[in-house]
Amino acid sequence: MATKRTGAGKSGGRDSSILAKIANHEIANKGRRAACDAVYVSKKLLRSTGKAAWIVGTSFLILVVPLLIQAERDQMLGEIELQQASILGPPPPGALQ
């Protein structure tokens, strides 16, 4: 099975040296270095994205969320007042304000 897989044109004894030659070739080294750099850069990118997401998220929580809550409450208060005004109707001319 192993000999079948190592395939056409290569004999068993010289397998390891050819594989070693391929593995130590300059292109393979360049590929390894590129993979290392890619892992390093992606780790840094993930960390800085995480940091930025944290800063943006907490600042959003502080600056925007209370505002949205209060604006919605103000809007609901306005709706209730409008409803009450339409139910009760306009005040009569001699009414106390």
């Binding site: 600042s59 502080i62 209370p66 409450r73």
Partner: protein
């Protein structure tokens, strides 16, 4: 339906008469006081964020006289040697205050549990001359100080003379140049560090916006701009540069005044985001929440408080 038509007509004629009015240079309005030049920007941007608990109770005994009690508990910062670390010491104190308000005389006194007494007087000596005095007495020697201000309000100018206790003398003057633009200047001389300084300020305001700029020989250049977007919303931005110590701060903030609450938020170029929420729970009862995140120094401060009366 009939009552909808006349208001449209009158609004148009009002607009036209405003534009056609010529500027009457001999009848300009009185400008705002020099130290309140940037008051709109201060209201929006310099909200007092605090840390810890704050409880204020004020009770009026009379139409003119009122007492106030206030409790503050929380960490206070102590200036530390290295700029990276902040040292916080938990403190708690109680402050008793008495206020007397009259149309012509205003007296305010505050006494704290750490022995500090703070007193302010504002008296209208005549129709145009106002005396303001401010004093602070402390237990520590050489830390007490007092300051007297004499303000004169003219028809379209204001002048102020300031006298402080350790040989501090200052004078400011501000004049309305057009109905919207006012220019002013100040000089001061401090006896103890033997320094004198001069500064200039300008303020341009319309119904919708206020822009101010200040330059001083102590090295500060400050500019701010406030735009009123609607009755409830205003946005403000501020830029401060010190050309002697070379530090720069720019900030942008908003101020939403709603019926039951007021939300103020601000973000800074030093990486500080802060917000203050004041909500009216019922008549005379206000609930305060304050938050300040300093992302650069990783210092987070939160506070809550209640104001009664």
């Amino acid at each position: 339906m009939a009552d909808l038509l006349p208001p449209l007509g009158t609004a148009q004629t009002d607009g036209k008469t405003k534009v056609d009015e010529k500027v009457d240079y001999s009848n300009l309005p009185c400008p705002v006081p020099y130290e309140e030049l940037h008051r709109e920007a201060i209201m929006s941007l310099k909200a007092d964020n605090f840390e810890g608990l704050r409880f204020d109770f004020s009770k009026g005994l009379n139409q003119k006289f009122s007492l106030s009690h206030s409790v503050m508990m929380g960490p206070t910062e102590v200036p530390s040697q290295s700029p990276d670390t902040t040292i916080k010491i938990p403190t708690a104190h109680y402050e008793f205050g008495a206020n007397y308000f009259d149309p012509k005389l205003m007296l305010i006194g505050r006494l704290m549990t750490d022995g500090r007494l703070n007193a302010r007087v504002k008296a209208d000596l005549t129709d145009r001359l106002v005396l303001k005095a401010n004093g602070q007495l402390t237990n520590e020697p050489h830390m007490s100080h007092a300051m007297f201000n004499f303000d004169y309000m003219g028809s379209d100018y204001r002048a102020q003379l300031q006298l402080g206790n350790s040989a501090l003398i200052g004078a400011t003057y501000i004049q309305s140049v057009t109905p919207r633009l006012s220019l002013g200047g100040e000089v001061f001389w401090a006896g103890v560090p033997r320094k004198s300084g001069i500064g200039y300020a300008a303020r341009y305001d319309t119904d919708k916006m206020v822009a101010t700029a200040q330059v001083a020989s102590t090295g500060t250049i400050a500019m701010n701009y406030v735009q009123k977007i609607s009755d409830k919303v205003s946005l403000a931005t501020d830029f401060a540069y010190n050309y002697l110590s070379r530090d720069v701060v720019a900030s942008v903030g908003y101020d939403y005044i709603l019926r039951q609450s007021r939300v103020r938020g601000k973000i800074d170029s030093n990486g500080v985001a802060s917000a203050l929420l004041e909500e009216r729970l019922s008549m005379g009862l206000n609930f305060l929440l304050s938050a300040e995140l300093d992302h650069k120094k990783k210092d987070y401060k939160f506070g809550f408080g209640l104001t009664v009366g």
